[in-house]
Subunit: 345 residues, 2 copies
């Protein structure tokens, strides 16, 4: 029988306790993954459905998390646009020839999800064949965050080139976002067809924008995207960081759930987003590096910050940090299940 706590919480239905999964729960802090990485690159693992499914499974074997999240990298679909990239351990995606001019944008190939990232669908199928009884979450980078990697040529603290394009060539920037909106729709639809039970959109760097620019450039594309995904019948989660100033808009983009970082207490978010949207988050991943006592205190503070537990999925505010002790993750999962209140309403 499929464990349905996560899906019920995302839909705002009663649950027996608070569901929990962790961003990057399949990753660098786990010994199995680290052993595999000594032999294979991140890309080799992601492109091999059997290896990627094995990595996806590792946290489920160790912890009582309520969902798997497919092992992948948000840069994977860049190949389908004809954009070369590599993934540098620790630094993330690097795009040697950034997308900056009109010609660069025109040169992007039409995105064919099956042809370019069909292997991610195969990973989801390989995971499901293991019959863990737990749902698997598919994901994609969001248009703005994907654009920032393409424009900057990799991760960047302040996104200077992205903001330059936004202000100096708003039409070019809009066309690039449109292309990446199509990409994200196609990529997430592929994962839904392969059996992903829920779909998360990572807009990690969107908090860099002010409310006016976010409202003008980002929000309309997100509305298009979530409207296009609606017929698939999968709950959707929109993740961003440092986005307290965008909460009023985040309530209008059409996602089933909004995933927030530790910078905004969840009761504040609930007030600003309204009751119809589930919340995900928002423990600081740094809290997993502290003492067990400090971790418990921080986790209880998150649970207490949700005015009603209906529609709350416990998660971190960002990915698990590589230095994290796996035992601490197990303790967190058990604490949340023990302290997360039953919701019968």
């Amino acid at each position: 029988m499929m464990r349905d706590r996560l899906m019920r919480a995302l839909r705002g239905e009663p649950t027996d306790t608070t569901p929990i999964w962790l961003m990057r729960q399949a990753g660098r802090y786990l010994p199995g993954y680290r052993a595999l990485r000594r032999q294979r690159s991140i890309l080799e693992i992601a492109q091999s459905p059997s290896l990627a499914a094995e990595v996806t499974l590792e946290p489920l074997r160790r912890f009582d998390v309520d969902a798997a999240v497919v092992f992948a990298d948000i840069a994977l679909p860049f190949a389908g646009l004809g954009v070369d990239f590599r993934i540098e351990p620790g630094a993330g995606p690097v795009v040697p020839e950034p997308v900056r001019t009109d010609a660069d944008v025109e040169r992007l190939r039409p995105f064919d999800a099956e042809a370019s990232v069909g292997f991610v669908g195969d990973t989801i199928r390989a995971f499901r064949a293991q019959e863990t009884g737990r749902p698997i979450i598919g994901f994609s980078g969001a248009p703005f965050t994907l654009a920032s990697y393409l424009i900057e040529g990799g991760a960047s603290r302040e996104l200077p080139e992205t903001r330059r394009m936004l202000y100096s060539s708003p039409e070019r920037f809009g066309r690039l976002l449109d292309r990446l909106t199509e990409l994200a729709i196609g990529y997430l639809a592929l994962q839904a067809r392969a059996g992903a039970a829920a779909l998360q959109l990572f807009d990690t760097w969107a908090g860099m924008l002010g409310p006016a620019e976010y409202g003008a450039f980002v929000a309309p594309r997100l509305r298009t995207l979530f409207a296009a995904l609606a017929p698939l019948g999968r709950p959707t989660i929109y993740f961003s960081t440092g986005s307290t100033h965008l909460l009023d808009t985040l309530g209008t983009i059409g996602a089933s759930a909004v995933s927030l970082d530790w910078r905004v207490p969840l009761d504040v978010a609930r007030d600003r987003l309204g009751p119809g949207i589930a919340l995900q988050g928002n423990l600081d991943p740094g809290a997993l590096l502290g003492s067990p006592t400090a971790l418990e205190r921080s986790a209880r503070r998150v649970l207490a910050s949700v005015p009603t537990h209906r529609g709350h999925v416990f998660n971190l505010g960002h990915g698990v940090l590589p230095a994290t002790d796996p035992d601490r993750v197990g303790a967190l999962v058990d604490l949340v299940h023990a302290e997360g209140r039953e919701v019968a309403a």
Copy 2:
């Protein structure tokens, strides 16, 4: 006669129009500075009062800005702690031996401002000897932001080691912040004695913290710091980025003015901070890279977002970007002076 628009606005007194200066107005986008940098390193310039004063003056010769800001780097006082560092062009301060253990913190030398950064006072004196009729702003990094450079070993997007120390060794982290609070007080007092008319504290990365951690670790040290500076009689400005979620606390730290980035409209900030604190900001520096029309629109939006112009200093939300056209800066300064309303109240 000294132009007093900036000082009056910081004190909430009537002004003839909105004052403006720009963070990093003396820097990489200016031809004089770039020519000098081909011959001298950033450290060589900063440590030479005559060169640093010349760099400080360049924007005043070109633009009608209402204040100078002393040319320096926030890493300069690290030398006074016995911490080696270098400044990498484009990347900022690099600390080859990060401060992470108890022993590392104990090893920090007592900070003697005159002995270690007396040359910054000399730069301020050399600037004042030019009799520009415009005030000069002194500055220091804030305890948290200085700590993040020392702990990470340089600039970092997500401050993983800083958050690790906060959660795993809160006492060690607190001791480090205490040492850096003393440093900032001593460094700013030195600049005030040399004739700095106002003092800005840069807490660029403080927005990384959630409200509880900011309230527990950062805010108490800021209150100590601003209380210690009060007898100097200089208006103080607290700068941070991505700190919408901290506004309620920012109203309580004791700074004369709070400088915000483009992520929070100034009328929202005014409501949260209360009427007794001046506002500084908050144009996205990216707007200086766009078309003249788009720049005008963005600048007018900032001016319109201040419910009353009393107590507003126009600035960017972060430093001038290196790719900025100096003529665009001149146009912005003139626009703000022309459109900034007289405040007679």
